[in-house]
Symmetry: C2
Subunit: 159 residues, 2 copies
């Protein structure tokens, strides 16, 4: 399994925004990203889970650190239309990704990554995956520790 | 913007599981995927958002439809260790992805996708993105309608 992880990528230039308590009904997601697109805000990750309790869910996305203030402003200007209950913005995150091929058996690779971070007490704030990547957001202060832990876990050259 | 979307992919062979109310603390994610990996369950998407209200969040992931029952069984066998408050399983989803290149300006591409679905009253249950893909989970019954709507929205040949 270790052989199919080809590398670790990371980006400190990420800031996350969460719109808390958006309605889980058609048109809500489009309504959020329309104004951001109009404002030329580039969005990297978008993560939204199901509405598991009431009919609301949270929408989290990341932007470049320099775009955080502008993105927050756009959303706040649209608050009455968007009807979120809270906005959480956080520039203090790093996105770390495990990159691999043939990650169909993601469960093992993902568990390996999550375990390596947990062993060092690093909390995983957001998870998003694709066939070639398992990406997490963690607190930026843990960047170096996390990268060392992951390089060791996957047997990749540290530095 | 339309020119950078190269295609639409979809998979009906997806079933989703959500562990509701898992603790947002180190070790929880590893604890969930360990037993699944041991049970040889292949996991495709993993989506986890921040814990926005109390110190809990939800963990959603997808497996092949044939693996749904087995994955649920494994998690239920581990319930006391995993301490989730609820397990929601749903075989009735389709994963649809917009594939592109240079999707740095995701906001516009994502908004275009979300709007096309919204116009047809299709609710987006889960969103997860990477640099080359915007993926959503919607109810499987909407597969054909969604694919037609997206092909039209992106000017791709329908069928
Ligand atoms: C929450 C948001 O994704 C909503 N379900 C929509 O379809 O737009
Ligand atoms: C929820 C889960 O991701 C937890 N934060 C962990 O680090 O394992």
């Amino acid at each position: 399994e270790k052989s199919i992880v080809s590398g670790i990528a990371y980006s400190r230039d990420e800031a996350k925004i969460t719109l808390v308590g958006v309605m889980d009904q058609p048109g809500v997601a489009a309504g959020i990203f329309g104004p951001l697109a109009d404002g030329n805000i580039n969005v990297d990750m978008i993560v939204q889970n199901i509405s598991s309790k009431d009919n609301t869910t949270d929408m989290t996305f990341t932007v470049a650190s320099d775009d955080l203030a502008g993105a927050v402003k756009i959303l706040e200007n649209n608050k009455s239309a968007l009807r979120y209950s809270d906005l959480i913005s956080d520039g203090d995150v790093v996105k770390i990704s495990i990159i691999g091929v043939g990650m169909r058996s993601n469960a093992g690779i993902a568990q390996h990554m999550f375990h390596a971070l947990a062993e060092h007490g690093i909390n995983i704030q957001v998870i998003s995956t694709s066939e070639i990547k398992v990406s997490v957001l963690i607190a930026e202060d843990y960047t170096e520790l996390a990268l060392r832990a992951l390089h060791t876990a996957y047997g990749l050259d540290a530095d």
